[in-house]
Each structure stands twice: as C-alpha cells, then as structure tokens.
Amino acid sequence: MKAKTRRTIIKLVIVVVVLGAVVGVVGWYKLFRKVPVYYASAEDHFKYGSVGAEEPTGVPYLIWLVLPRMFPEKLPGPGGYTALGAAWEEGQELPIGFTKMTIGFPRVAVNCAACHTTTVRATPKDKPMMFLGGPSSRFMPQAYLRFLFACGSDPRFNSDNVLKEIDRIYKLSWLDRALYRYVLIPQTKRTLIKQQTEDYTWMNSRPDWGPGRTDMNPFQLVVMKLPDNHTIGSTDIMAIWNQRAHEGFLRHSDGLNSTLIEPVLSAALAAGATRDSLDVEGLKRVNQWLLDLPPAKYPYFVDQNLTSSGNEIYNRECASCHAFGGARTGKIIPIEEVQTDRHRMDHWPQSAADAFNKYAEKYPWGFHNFRSSNGYVALALDGVWARAPYLHNGSVPTLADLLVPVEQRPKLFVRGYDVYDQERVGFVSSGADAEKSGFRYDTAVIGNSNQGHLWGTTLSPEDKKALIEFLKTL
C-alpha cells in the first residue's frame, strides 16, 4: 500500500511539474517573450522603432486596431488615428511615430517621431509632405491619451465587445482568444483606467494642449511622480533636426538641459518608457542620426529678388541671437528681456532639475545636466518655415504675425491645420476649412499669451517682406 501511495504521489508530482512547466513556457511565450525589431535604416528606426515604451505602456495591437472602429465618436473626427493628426505614410502599417513590438503579443506604443514629424500641404486636397525631425503641427498627444482613456473607461470596453470587433478583422486561435478574453482585454482596461485616474488626472486641471503642443508636466508628475507644483507646462513641439550644428546650445525652450542625449532619453520616458524598459541603444542611434538630419527645405516659391536684402536685415536684426555663430544663439535670454509668456519657464524649477539628476543615478546613462533657467533659449532658425506656430508656446501663427506688435497679433486662431500659408509663412490659421479640422487657440488662456519678442516689429512693411522671404531659405 505504501509503495502504491508513494508511486501515486510521484506520478502526481510529475504531472503537476510537467503541467506547470507547460503552462509556464506557454505563458512566457504568449505574454513575455520579447521579439526585438531591428530596422536596417536609422530613418526607419526613427519613424517606427521602439524607445522601450511597449512593455510598460503599450496597447495590445489588436485592441489598438479595433478601438477607432468601436469608439469612433471618441476621436476628434473621422479618419481613425489620422484624426489625431498622426502622419501616416502610404503603404505603412502604422502612422509615423507608432511602434509595434511583440512582447508575448504585439503591442503598440509611440516614439519620438509621433511629435517630431512635420506635415505640410499646399492645398487641402493634397496629400501631406512629411519632414522628419520637424515639429508636428497636427499631432495631438493629449487627444491620443484621452481617446485611449475614454475607451478604457467606457462600459462597452469589455471582453465580449472587444472580441466581437477583433473577430471581424482577425481569426484568433482558441488560446489567443482565451488570453484576450481573460487577460489582455481586462488588463488593458485596468491599465487605461489607472493611467486616467492616477497618472494623468492633473491634465484635467490644465489648459488643453491642442495639436502640435504638449505639456511638460509628465516629466515631473508621471515619470518622477513629484508632487504637483500646479504649474502649466504648455509648450510647442520643437524641431530636433540638424543637431550637430546645435552642439553646445541649451535644449528645450527654457534650456533645461545642455546635452542632446539627456533630452532624448527623458522624452522617451515621458512617451511611456520606464528606466528599466528604456531602449538606450536604440535612442543613442536616434541621437546619432539627429546630428546630421538636414532641416526641411522650403518647398514652395522663394522670391530671389528679395532674399539678399532680407539677408541684410536678418544679419542686422536677428543674427546675433538666431544665426549659427551668433553671440547669444543657443543661450538664455532672460524673461525680462524676451518678455514672452513665463509659465513654461516657471514650470521647471531647480527642484525638478535636481530630482531628474537623481532619478536615474544607478543607471549607466543617468542624468546629470538638468538645470533651471530664468528665461528662454534663443533658438537657431534652421527650417524655421516649418516650425510654425511661433514662440515657445506656439502662440503666434505665422512669421508675418510675429513681426507685428503684440496688439496686432491674432488673439484667436486655428492650430492643427497643415495647409501652408506661403504669404505669411506658417500654417493657414483661419477660414472655414482650417476651423473644421483645427483647434481654436485662444491667447487669453493661461500659458498661451502671445506677448513678447518684439524684435523686428518696427521694421517697414518692405523690410518685413524681404526678411520673411529670406527666412524661408533657412
């Protein structure tokens, strides 16, 4: 009897171990197996490569696919993810800036390119030209988050309904179906609700970012989980091309860092990666590629008769702060002098810089160069034509508008329309078409002021015209 019992126990143990091993291996394979994606070209890597956000904050691919079909009313308009202003190349599976990586199952996250790709069209019927490394004037990172959150908290977001939609586009195996039903869909819902109700609640008490802008608050509140200092970090997305020429310049509009790699790595954290998931090698590759990425060349007519006189005016009025080699280019202009909206600068106190410098001490790539400043950086103007709207908060739609006194700048205008205004140099910011697809930017909203930067506003109309013509060529 004893022997028989022992044999039975041994058999049971073997069965349990084997079953456990099978479940473990299958579970690992289906949920955690990491299949890195390598893009041979650095450009493709920039557009579609991972920054390491898929594991902590990626959305299961099939769920990501069906959400716009299940909840089209939660997007700003028709067009799936293009309604969020994403630049999407013909033939490509995902919009630029969206990454797909299999960690157990395919997951979708974002990378640098989602915000840092400019789209430009000559007329509303044209398809957009795309300029990598330029600021997107259309992408709405906040609307993307809000879309996902709204989906996650909708009672219709449940396994039955999501699977019903997935069944319309993909034939899942019974195992994958079970995983989606019992693990992935409920887990995705939980994660989105957690993000909405814990990580991003501050968003609801700040002005809307609108297209082409972001708020710096995620660095402090989501990445580092610092206490809310109740500041407003609204900022225009910046150009990140041509970085070799920017060597030694301060980065971000308020110059919060003096290196390139630290802003690159920290932006990836804000985009959803964590210290442990960050793809440091991949980001170094991006960093390297950005050094020699050429600024976008103006694609429309330039009146060569005006550019040489424009160049003279530029040398006289702008170059000392804005030309490569200018005495103050890439340096801080104190707030008292530039007089632009101060909220973005106030948003980043020394305490935030200190916290960031400690944040990744134990990692080989840790941060050391974050700082606080008392003004805004005088940026080099390479590709400035594509960087509209202007000023750090994107409060002035065109160069022509920037060259007039503050009272004459538009108080209300439309952002997020990428049809180009060749006359005023910037994007079309008024009219029925723009209003239909854009965001109403109100300069009276906190953080949105269009004040300051009065240089050039007293030039004669001819001089302004010539100067603007020259600025197209930068």
């Binding site: 009897m1 691919y61 099939l62 696919l65 716009p68 079909r69 299940m70 089209p72 009313e73 308009g77 028709p78 067009g79 799936g80 993810y81 293009t82 999407w88 190349e89 013909e90 033939g91 490509q92 599976e93 995902l94 919009p95 019927k125 398809k127 957009p128 069944d167 319309r168 586009i169 993909y170 034939k171 239909k436």
Partner: protein
Amino acid sequence: MKDYEPPTPVEIRERKRIKIILLIILVILIAIAAYLYWAFNPNRPVDYADIQEHFKYGSIGSEPANGIPYWIFKVLPDMFPEKLGGKGYAALGFIEEPGKDLPIGFSKRRVIVDRVGLNCAVCHTGTLRDNANSQPRVIVGMPANRLQLENYIRFLSACALDPRFTADNVMTAIAARTRLGPIEKFIYRSAVPLTREALIEQGSRLSFVNTRPDWGPGRVDTFNPYKAIQFHWPMEGDQSIGTSDYPSIWNQRPREGMQLHWDGNNTSVEERNKSAALGAGVTPATIDLDRLKRIEDWLLDFKAPAYPYPVNETVAAKGEALYKQHCSACHDFGSALVGTVTPIGKISTDPERLDSYTYTLAVNQNLMYAGYPWRFSHFRKTNGYANMPLDGIWLRAPYLHNGSVPTLRDLLEPPDQRPKEFYRGYNVFDQKNVGFVANLAADGGENFFKYDTTLRGNNNGGHIYGTTLSAEDKDAIVEYMKKL
C-alpha cells in the same frame, strides 16, 4: 501486493459487459456528433466543379459575417412583395438563370444553417439582348449593367424595419416553402431578430447614401461605404460622392502593376481583389482565400467576348488608323500611358469620385487584413483618373468612370453635345452607337433609371479626345472599337 485478489469469473463477465455497453454508447455519441456536424456544419460552402459556375454561384467567404440565413433570403420577396413591385429579386436587376436556386452573384455556405452571401459575379456579370424581343444572354465578367445594389441595400433595410418582420411571420412564410426540422426551426426562430438587427445596423451605417444622387443600375459608390462599414467613420461631415460604374474584370494578367480602380489608387491586382471581396461582405477573418484564388487565377486570362454583331471591316480599318493616332497612347496594352493616371486638370472628367477617395482613407486601408502577410500596402491617393485598357469596351457602356455617357459615339462628341439626360438599365444593344439603348424611359413594363448629368457626381464633361474629328471619322473609330 498482498491485498490483490484475482477477479472471479462472474466479475470478469460483468466488466466485459460494462465495456461493451460503454463502447455502444460511444459509437452512438460519435454517430450523433457526425450527424450534427453534417447537418449543422460550422463552415461548409457549396462548391462547383465548373469555374464559371463557381464564379457565378461559388462562395468567397461573405456568408459567415454578412450572410443572410438562406430561408430568410428566400422568403423576403414572399413576405414583402410590394417592396419589389411584385417581381421578386429580378426587380433589383439580379440575374436569375433558369433552374438555379439563387440569382447570379449569390453563394451558399452552411454556417450552422445555410446562409446566402454575395460574390464577385453580382457586380461583374451582365446581360445583353439583340433587340426588345430577344432573350438576354448572360455575360460573365462584364459590368452588371442592370444591377441596383443601392436598392438591394434599401430593400433589406426596409424589410428589417417592417413590423411584419417577426419570427412568427418568417416561420410561416418558410413553412409555405419547406418543412424545417425541429432544430432548424429553433435556429431560424432565433436568427430572425439577429438578422433584423444586422440589417438595421447596415442600413443605418449606409444611410448617408440617401443624401446623394441615386446610384441607379450598374453603379456603386465604392469607397464611401468602405469608410462607414469597414472603419465605422461618422459620415455626417463627409459630403463626397464616389458613385462610379462597375468595371469589367476579364483579362487581369496584363493589368498587374497598372494603376487599378477608376482613380488608379492601387497597383496590385491581388490587393484590389481582396478589397473588392470586402465590398461583397467578406471580412479578413472569413475570406475564403482558396476559393477566391480559383476565381482570380481564372480571370487572369479570361478574355472579353468578341463582338457578336456585324462589323464593317472597311470602315473599321480606317477607324483603326485613327484609333492608333488618337487613342492608343493611353489605352492600348503596352502603350506608355495605359494604366497610369491622367491628372484631373487634364482629363477634366467629373472630380467627385476622385475626391471621395482620400489620403486619410488610403492610409487607414493599410490596416486592412492587419496581422496577415497580405495586409494592404498598395493603396495610394492619386490626382486624376487612370487610363483604362479597352478590351471588350463594347460591353462596358455607359462610359467614363461615372457612366455618364451612354455610348462610344456620344463620347466622341464635345461634352455640350453629349446627352444631358438618358436612361440606364436597359440591356438591348445599340449597334450603331455602341452601348445600350439609352433613350427609352420604359419597355416591357419596366421603367428605366433616368440619368441626370447635372447632378453632383454625374457630370459628363471631360475626356475630349477625338471630339473634334469629322462625323465620318468618329463613326470609323467606333466601328473599329467594336473589335477591341
């Protein structure tokens, strides 16, 4: 081991008997399962050995997601005859061949119960008559010149919304035609509300078509329903009109790599086919690739039928020279411009169809069949209309992408002299002008569709090539084109 006692003979017999009983039960269970599988197969299409039969009646996989239970499909005209003018499905331009259970373009597949879906032939098989008294010949691969797809959608919606569409009434109507078994009865009863809901949803998603000019026979809006059905985009703000003529689908091999669809938005024959299959109701999960492939392979070299009426060879020879001079560069296989897009500013035909297909739609189509190796990657936004090869052009009337010019001869007239109004849907051939007779409002008790070229999307302007030739030269070109 000491505890072990050998079984007595009685016990052995007893165990044997239990084993036999268990075996019998098992066999019965297997038999029941086999019967149920046979009777209520989760997925079994009807197959046809002959390829043309397969094309006309075979399944491409539209039934599982978008099929209508067979008997419901059959009894709808019985239940709501007034919605079809008492003429059954033929009123919608579907072609009913003698001895066939379903109209051409309808396939059958058992998905628990038999369901009916659409296939390629519904839009790509037409009919032709020599005169008002002759019988129609069915020509596969030609545009479905009489099909009123929009009215079919409207009919289904109207049935679903009709308070008489109840399980009781449907079961009564079915009982008048056949005797269902008890299981089938049960399934059908529960299928009625599901069918109603699916049809109401489809009708509501497509309700935007009612704010546009009618498609009429032989036309469809291809890409706007795509936006609504595949992507569920809200259509309130989209005023575009994509209504266009059905194309012929023969002779696909030389078309590979050309810019396909009217606006040339895709260069892959395979992708274009899979996209068209979505229009017939397949989903990426239900598409029957093997059965579709059979059709695709056949269409590669399936040739347009030769012109069956007399041709004046002398005039045609003169026409050939003129054709070579004025038409070949854009329209002949092997020419430089065939299968490429002529910009809208140059071709100047109605721009609505072009504008209805947007960059936004093109990039979203990149997600069709996502997760499969055949995910779409060839859709592009273009800026004009593609130069089509003209094989079998005599059967492809009315002409231009929107079917706005009834005959070839009319197309060779300057736009202001082309017919401003004409009738579509008649299938008697006009041998003189090459096209279908288009000046009759009604015949044989059937009213035809009045095509108004002044409506949005229906403009008959543009493509002015050859319009300045002499009448004699134009006649000659038309004579030659019969032979293409």
